[in-house]
């Protein structure tokens, strides 16, 4: 891929992404405002007492007294300028709130993704290699089992084993508060906390990728060029790695790209179990409190993340598969 076509492609995709993001914002805006209850009533509920004047004052302050279309228009205008608005309840800019917690989610989902993809491909490749043998059966059962277990359940069990019984790893949070660690020590500290949640989230997707890899490898193994490789006298291991696995990775990459969003969605559950301070949890809390601005902001940010991830997947795909260029 040359510089200019690549640039044009990225530009086109960026435009498409912008359109998609605004469609998502609009749809979500309408959806979220269809919810019964508004932030003013929730805040009044929390205050333990309220009067109509107070409520009206709150609504005016949040702009909730304007017609919905005006609110939407204003919001879109702000978003276009990079302003995600203020959180009604926390009285802070939404962008800041999300940014504070985005890195936590990215660390969690990123590591989970790495665990899932590498573990999954390794297991899947092994299973495909050992078709009909005990190790294949074992991997298949493991993958099916992980696939069939609710994600929060896995989390609870891991906590029971590694935090309660073995006392090896902390069960919640993201770092040791007050330890004031920096640099490498801080990273190691976070890694400690990260291990269980990342594993919880990663295991499920690892099962997905393992199954996918196995199926793709079996499919690829029946293709003509594999026979060609064997006819050339290529050793079996090399056939598996260079010819079968590389081609089998293509569908795995595609699915991994599509599932990026699900990974972020799934992190709500994991963030809940492990008190991981990410945006999944932020969104859930915001939903319960009807803090629309945060919820919309999270939708926006996650959608952008997914779109960016899809773009990366496509570029990766194009990098691996030379056919994409002229398809």
């Amino acid at each position: 891929m040359g510089g200019a076509p690549l640039f044009r492609f990225v530009l086109q995709r960026a435009l498409k992404m912008v359109v998609m993001v605004f469609a998502i914002i609009t749809a979500n805006f309408l959806l979220v405002h269809a919810a019964p209850g508004d932030p003013a009533s929730v805040m009044a509920g929390e205050a333990g007492a309220a009067d109509p004047q107070f409520m009206a004052q709150l609504r005016a302050q949040f702009g909730l007294d304007k017609p919905l279309s005006t609110q939407l228009w204003l919001y879109l205008g702000h978003v276009a300028q990079g302003d995600l608005g203020m959180s009604y309840r926390q009285q802070r800019p939404v962008a800041g709130l999300i940014m504070e917690r985005l890195s936590a989610t990215l660390i969690l989902t990123g590591s989970a993704f790495v665990i899932a993809i590498f573990g999954g491909i390794a297991l899947g490749a092994l299973a495909a290699r050992k078709v009909g043998r005990f190790s294949e059966t074992l991997i298949t059962i493991l993958a099916l089992g992980l696939y069939a277990t609710p994600i929060f359940w896995v989390g609870l069990m891991l906590v029971l084993i590694f935090s309660v019984w073995l006392d090896w790893l902390p069960s919640f949070g993201m770092n040791t508060v007050g330890a004031d660690l920096t640099g490498f020590a801080a990273a190691v500290d976070t890694l400690h906390y990260l291990l269980l949640p990342a594993l919880t989230l990663g295991l499920f997707y690892m099962a997905v990728y393992a199954r996918l890899t196995r199926a793709a490898m079996l499919e690829v193994a029946s293709q003509d060029f594999v026979r060609t490789a064997r006819a050339k006298g290529v050793p079996e291991g090399r056939v598996q790695r260079h010819h079968i696995l590389r081609n089998a990775l293509l569908p795995v990459i595609t699915v991994a790209g599509i599932q990026a969003g699900q990974l972020i969605g799934g992190s709500i559950l994991v963030e809940t179990v492990f008190a991981w301070p990410g945006i999944g949890r932020l969104a859930f809390d915001a939903l319960l409190a009807r803090d629309y601005q945060i919820l919309l902001g999270v939708f926006l940010v996650t959608s952008v993340l997914v779109l960016v991830f899809n773009l990366i997947t496509d570029l990766l795909y194009a990098w691996i598969d030379p056919r994409v260029e002229v398809m």
Binding site: M1, G2, P5, L6, R8, F9, Q223, D224, F225, R227, T228, A229, R230, A231, K232, G233, V234, P235, E236, R238, H242, H243, R246, N247, D314, A318, I320, D321, P322, R323, V324, E325, V326, M327
Partner: protein, 533 residues
């Protein structure tokens, strides 16, 4: 001592197959410097036997008896690792489908180099280049760094040959290496194989179903049927004095009877194509915009009552697109398609409907052209029913049509997958005839069939044409078939009709160089099959 000696080779099929053995008591020898053709129709066991030689049999098949001695070693006694060392080293192989036989993710040069590397040979770029040049690939520097998808089928097959020859094997096994190629390419590849073989003195085991190819290349011939060798001998002998009935039938089925010269059809024109143009919008890749690719350019054709016009060309020449334009499966951008006096091109879908009865089509792939989930009776009856014929009438008509295409009327209650390819093609024909069309468009109706079946279908079509007075547009890539079936032919190349006229005239005195090269590429063109019977 032969280079390769196969003795009493027997390979069992898994339980429940239609016969016990894929190959039974097969014996033959191959000398160095010799080309041996194994000929047979699909399912005759010819490919399975080569699989056994190189140790790449599918796991469901097992050699149960016999020996394969190659360079004084019994291959059946070797371990998998020892077999691997032979493959690609002493024994080279090329396959039928060049489009899928190369790893799409590896550069061509790397794939050739791999063949060298895995056997411990120096995989220098120079050597790879040498091999690429040896198979006459243009612009070797570019080809070496290209990915396979950028190469044409013929080029890919050359890459395959380069790979197979990398370590100068003493035995080359070529399994239908030209079947998927266009005639002109086929001729070049055959030439290349012959050239390399004679230069290096290799033994070549060449699998084919095409007697034309046999005539072109073989020194000796082995004919297989149902897993057994029915006849073997020198090429000269088998081609010209076949002994076994099966061989004789196969040779007789090769289309060769030039059609009796008919007076030019004088009926009124049924179909007139004027300056038809059709292009496709090819989807760009991730990084490239969409491209408009012309498929048919300024096609003019006239088809008169009762005549058969052959539309001849290689793949990608636009002949099928043109046929699809006529039946409104594709929308041409320009030109007129006049059926009698109606311009079909301008008709909306619902105005098209009456013409559906009058123009019908027979398709190429007998496996893909019948809905696998419907019974044969329904498939045939649904057309008339869509045009208002009551179900009972349509169904009884369907049974009549089945007899007409020489199938048992009880076939109506069965599903397509219960029939062989030839039978399915008969069903396809019956489906078209159920509409009682005036114009029948046959798009490569026999190209997916074995020769013997091919002959039957051609005969059937000819009979039906005469009996029902059909006007026919016959699309084919096989000049022998065209010569046998068509009164007139039109030759297409890259979307343009380069020549058209009376078949005998065009074939004996081609005006266009492309027509000439097509004719020169007919495999075994110098061989006139003996008229038996």
């Amino acid at each position: 001592m032969s280079l390769l000696a196969v003795r009493d080779l027997t390979i069992a099929l898994p339980k429940g197959a239609d016969r016990a053995h894929a190959v039974e008591a097969m014996s033959f020898g191959l000398e160095a410097g010799e080309i041996l053709c194994i000929v047979g129709e699909s399912g005759s066991g010819k490919s399975v036997s080569t699989g056994a030689i190189v140790g790449l049999l599918p796991s469901a098949l097992a050699v149960t008896a016999g020996s394969i001695v190659f360079e004084d070693r019994n291959l059946l006694g070797l371990s998998a690792a020892e077999m691997r060392l032979l493959r690609g080293n002493r024994i080279g192989m090329i396959f039928q489908e060049p489009m899928t036989a190369l790893n799409p993710l590896m550069r061509v040069g790397d794939q050739i180099a791999e063949a060298l590397k895995v056997h411990g040979a120096a995989d220098s770029e120079g050597r790879v280049r040498e091999l690429v040049e040896a198979v006459h690939l243009p612009d070797p520097d570019r080809i070496v760094h290209s990915y396979p998808h950028l190469l044409s089928g013929g080029q890919r097959q050359r890459v395959m040959i380069a790979m197979a020859l990398a370590l100068e094997p003493s035995l080359l096994i070529a399994d239908e290496p030209t079947t998927a190629l266009d005639v002109t390419t086929q001729m070049q590849i055959l030439g290349l194989i012959k050239e390399i073989q004679s230069r290096r003195g290799m033994g070549v085991l060449f699998i084919t179903h095409d007697f034309g190819v046999v005539a072109e290349i073989a020194d000796r011939v082995v004919v297989m049927q149902h897993g057994r060798i029915v006849e073997s001998g020198s090429a000269e002998q088998v081609l010209n004095q076949p002994q076994h009935a099966y061989t004789r039938a196969l040779i007789a089925a090769v289309p060769h009877r030039a059609r009796a010269i008919e007076p030019p059809a004088s009926g009124r024109p049924v179909l007139e194509l004027v300056s038809v143009r059709k292009s496709y919008l090819r989807r760009g890749g991730l990084f490239s915009p969409h491209v408009r690719v012309p498929a048919v350019q300024d096609a003019d054709i006239e088809l008169r009552q009762g005549e058969t016009l052959g539309l001849v060309g290689e793949s990608g020449s636009g002949k099928s697109t043109l046929a699809r334009c006529i039946v409104n499966l594709a929308k041409p951008e320009e030109g007129a398609i006049r059926f009698h006096d109606t311009d079909l091109r301008r008709l909306a879908r619902r105005h098209w409907k009456p013409f559906r009865k009058r123009i019908q089509m027979v398709f190429q792939d007998p496996f893909a052209s019948l809905n696998p989930r419907r019974r044969v009776g329904e498939i045939i009856a649904e057309g008339p029913m869509a045009h208002g014929t009551p179900r009972a009438v349509a169904e009884s008509k369907a049974r009549e049509l089945l007899s007409l295409v020489q199938l048992d009327p009880s076939a109506a209650g069965r599903f397509p997958h219960e029939f062989s390819g030839g039978q399915r093609q008969r069903i396809g024909i019956a489906r078209a005839l159920a509409m009682e069309p005036e114009l029948l468009i046959a798009d490569e109706p026999v190209s997916a069939l074995d020769v013997s079946v091919q002959a039957q279908i051609l005969t059937l079509l000819e009979e039906l044409r005469q009996r029902l007075g059909l006007t026919m547009l016959f699309i084919t890539h096989d000049l022998r078939v065209a010569a046998q079936v068509c009164g007139r032919v039109a030759v297409m190349q890259r979307g343009i009709i380069v020549e058209q006229g009376q078949t005998s005239e065009v074939f004996s005195n081609p005006k266009h160089p492309y027509t000439q090269s097509l004719l020169d590429s007919i495999p075994g063109r110098h061989w006139l099959p003996p008229v038996t019977r």
